[in-house]
């Protein structure tokens, strides 16, 4: 899936380190910093973001319920805003796609695309029950954010409130309930009740992360994966195929925001959130130059999205230079993460 380098050679270079008392105290400080970064990542970034996701899912569910009760264009607009809001939080959560979100399939259950028009149309035309529990048993391409997007935005964003049928209403109500009750809430609970401890006890009894290095490499790998997924996959494929039907959120034209938020999610992991420590604090403690490079490159990648002024579905035809520039920035960032940052972790995280 991803390129990666032979970093093992580095581990051979660490023999013969000398033991000075200053170094010992530095090491103690650094070990304490590692623990702090892990704690802050867990509480501020992971649990913080998943908690925000839960709030967004509650709001979305309320907006959809309201739209169901009073199907007005104003309520449709509110539901759309609510949908875009949860997409922002969710895409930022993709900066750390490991643990329950992948182990328990919350990601594919809610964020599978492309949507399956034919089965969606067949389902809506049928008399198949559409309660939340029925949704839970549907294929993943008929669950989650994107079928809901299809209902409330329609092709080309053309949906009007009066055009939403009774079956579509029933489907959208159950879809948003399925997102909230079967996915987002359990995701938060899985983290807070179990996985949190796996992360917090990395290198001290965790069965998932036997060493802290193991955990940090996993976090870096998660950052690199989302960078690659956006640059080499989600942006590149519609771009190279010149095909706007294979973008991520085509009905709402939210695709570019999705990408942008993915990289902000990566940045949140690197910098930390709410004044907590992030990966950057570890890097800066040992190698300020590398920290500068990484921060600058993340910022360059994020800013480069601003040069794409059209919606992504149009930009792949009309702003190809700008799209290519962003993909180049993401490639540079991914290289930094795969090589320098990964090496940094292997060299410096020794417990």
């Amino acid at each position: 899936m991803k390129k990666s380098i032979l970093v093992f050679a580095v581990t051979g270079l660490l023999f013969g380190a000398c033991h000075k008392s200053a170094e010992t105290s530095n090491n103690t400080d650094f070990a304490a910093l590692e623990t702090q970064v892990i704690t802050d990542f867990t509480n501020n970034v992971a649990l913080g973001q998943y908690s925000a996701l839960t709030n967004s899912a509650v709001s979305l569910n309320q907006a959809i319920t309201t739209l169901n009760t009073a199907t007005t264009d104003a309520n449709l607009l509110a539901a759309r805003a609510s949908w875009k809001n949860i997409r922002q939080t969710w895409e930022q959560c993709e900066g750390f796609l490991f643990g329950p979100v992948e182990d328990n399939d919350y990601d594919p259950n809610t964020d599978t695309w492309p949507t399956d028009y034919n089965q969606m149309d067949s389902l809506l035309a049928s008399s198949n029950p559409l309660e939340t529990d029925d949704i839970k048993n549907l294929p993943q391409s008929l669950r989650g954010y994107h079928p809901l997007e299809y209902i409330i935005f329609g092709k080309g964003g053309s949906r009007v409130a009066s055009g939403i049928t009774a079956r579509q209403k029933q489907y959208m109500v159950s879809l948003s309930a399925d997102i909230l009750y079967n996915n987002v809430q359990p995701l938060y609970n899985d983290w807070s009740s179990g996985f949190k401890n796996q992360v917090l006890t990395a290198g001290a009894g965790s069965t998932q992360f036997e060493t802290k290095q193991d955990l940090f490499l996993n976090i870096v790998s998660g950052m690199s994966d989302i960078c690659g997924e956006v640059g080499e996959g989600k942006m590149f494929e519609p771009f190279i195929a010149k095909d706007s039907t294979i973008t991520e959120s085509p009905y709402s034209s939210n695709t570019l925001d999705d990408f942008h938020n993915n990289i902000i999610g990566l940045q949140n992991v690197y910098l930390g959130l709410n004044n907590g420590k992030g990966i950057r604090d570890l890097v800066a403690a040992k190698n300020r130059d590398l920290d500068n490079q990484i921060r600058t490159q993340i910022q360059a990648a994020i800013s480069s999205f601003d040069n794409i002024t059209l919606r992504y579905e149009e930009a792949i035809y009309k702003q190809r230079t700008q799209v290519q520039q962003t993909m180049d920035q993401l490639a540079t960032l991914k290289d930094l993460l795969d090589n320098e940052l990964t090496e940094f972790m292997i060299t410096n995280i020794k417990d």
């Binding site: 993943q140 996993n218 790998s221």
Partner: protein, 441 residues
């Protein structure tokens, strides 16, 4: 004068290198998903396209992209079963299903393979697109059986029973079922490159060395090349090439037709009526090739903790109790001119790719070409220690009945009975060391 270069002595290799140049050092939950190093720009692109296709969820036709699902299927994408390119979960009939059921009746077909059951083919598709009936659903019940070590320690093993429920038409002949759990995708490209002579050199026909282990190769018919060839892939070594293994997965598991498997799995059944364009090949030829290249060029994860004293002791025990007679540790891959990373590499797959009698406890009693009802192909062990991390929950053996490596060892019977008994005789400390060694693979 001409000197032939000798191989280095064994202790001069880096133990972490599971697969020579094809080794990768990422040990995260994505450890199985990396391309081998040093692919050309073009090869990287093909690998990436294969990766995307591998992850793409197929949808009901007609659809602009990735249409062609079903009408009957077991799952909607490769990745749904091979989680993170790791293994599957032993459940059926849902998006998270990683277990499928083969079916056949007594006798063999014209090519020596299993004989289809009318209306069901050779595999039970337990899901269907909207409005279509699946062939049946699968019922699984487990019975816990306690196993007591000589030292008094008790481990629970769970014995599965499988039932075919709600068949869409009655089955009128006696039939045999065989469950198959999706395996992890480690080192498939290298297994394909192990010379046939190497595999055959592992056969000990007539048990000349008296260790109770013989082994035999499966020879299977390839419907695409129309030749009988040595079987390498599949839990009974019933697929000769990666391409066919993958094409059959598209056809049988997803209901997606390809150039190598052009017929719908539902051909001749009532579900076939809902196939819209019966002549269309649902997976583009290039994409099947890309997926095949993707799987072939996946790197093998490096070993961990190789200097740990317990791991080292476990490695010695692995040989002492003779696990290594079938789970062969070291061999050389053959030549692959286009991909030097796979060519002539010293690899440690821990398999002989042969079929062995594993006893009544594991028997499916369903022959598959030359594989008898008690025979299974030696599972490669590389990557086994990362299964939990990549898959999210680790299940072992052909049907995922074992919830731990220890349970998996204790299920071994038949040719492996002696080794299993020797394992049970070890002290608790030694058993821990052996398992720790396996977890380092």
């Amino acid at each position: 004068m001409c000197h032939k270069a000798d191989l280095l002595p064994d202790d001069e290799y880096d133990d972490r290198l599971s697969a020579g140049l094809a080794t990768n050092f990422d040990l995260s939950s994505h450890a199985f998903t990396h391309a081998i190093d040093g692919l050309s720009v073009r090869d990287q692109r093909v690998h990436e396209l294969g990766d995307q296709t591998f992850e793409s969820k197929f949808v009901a036709p007609p659809a602009p992209v990735f249409g062609g699902l079903g009408p009957i299927y077991n799952n909607v994408s490769c990745i749904n079963c091979h989680r993170n390119d790791g293994g599957g979960l032993p459940i059926t009939g849902s998006a998270t299903a990683g277990l499928l059921m083969r079916i056949s009746q007594a006798g063999t077909d014209a090519n020596g393979g299993p004989l289809e059951v009318n209306g069901f083919g050779l595999q039970v598709q337990d899901q269907a697109i909207f409005g279509v009936k699946p062939e049946a659903t699968i019922g699984i019940t487990y019975t816990e059986i306690p196993f007591t070590y000589p030292d008094g320690t008790i481990v629970n093993l769970r014995s599965p029973e499988y039932q075919l429920l709600n068949p869409y038409i009655p089955i009128t002949v006696p039939y045999m079922l065989s469950p198959r759990l999706a395996p992890r995708l480690v080192g498939m490209g290298l297994l394909e490159k192990i010379p046939e002579t190497t595999i055959l050199s592992f056969v000990d026909a007539g048990d000349q060395n008296g260790d109770g282990i013989t082994g035999k190769a499966n020879y299977v018919y390839d419907p695409y090349t129309k030749k009988t060839e040595i079987g390498r892939f599949g839990l009974k070594a019933n697929a000769p090439t990666l391409l066919l293994q993958i094409a059959m997965a598209y056809q049988q598991d997803m209901g997606v037709t390809t150039f190598a498997t052009a017929d719908e799995s539902s051909l001749g059944q009532e579900q076939y009526h809902s196939v819209i364009d019966k002549d269309q090949r649902e997976l583009a030829d290039s994409l099947l090739n890309h997926v095949s290249f993707y799987v072939k060029t996946l790197a093998v994860p490096a070993r961990r903790n190789v200097t740990d004293p317990d791991v080292k002791a476990g490695s010695v025990l692995f040989n002492q109790v003779n696990c290594s007679a079938c789970h062969r540790s070291t061999m050389m891959s053959g030549s692959e001119p286009d991909l030097p990373q796979l060519s002539g590499q010293r690899i440690h797959p821990y398999t002989d790719l042969l079929l062995h009698d594993l006893g009544e406890g594991l028997a499916d009693n369903r022959p598959d070409f030359l594989a008898g009802g008690r025979e299974w192909r030696t599972q490669p062990l590389w990557g086994i220690g990362l299964l939990q991390k990549t898959t999210g929950a680790a299940y072992y053996l052909h049907d995922g009945r074992a919830r731990s490596i220890e349970e998996a060892i204790l299920w071994h019977g038949g040719e492996a009975q002696k080794s299993r008994d020797a394992f049970a005789q070890l002290t608790q400390q030694q058993r821990m060391q052996l398992i720790k060694f396996l977890n380092s693979l």
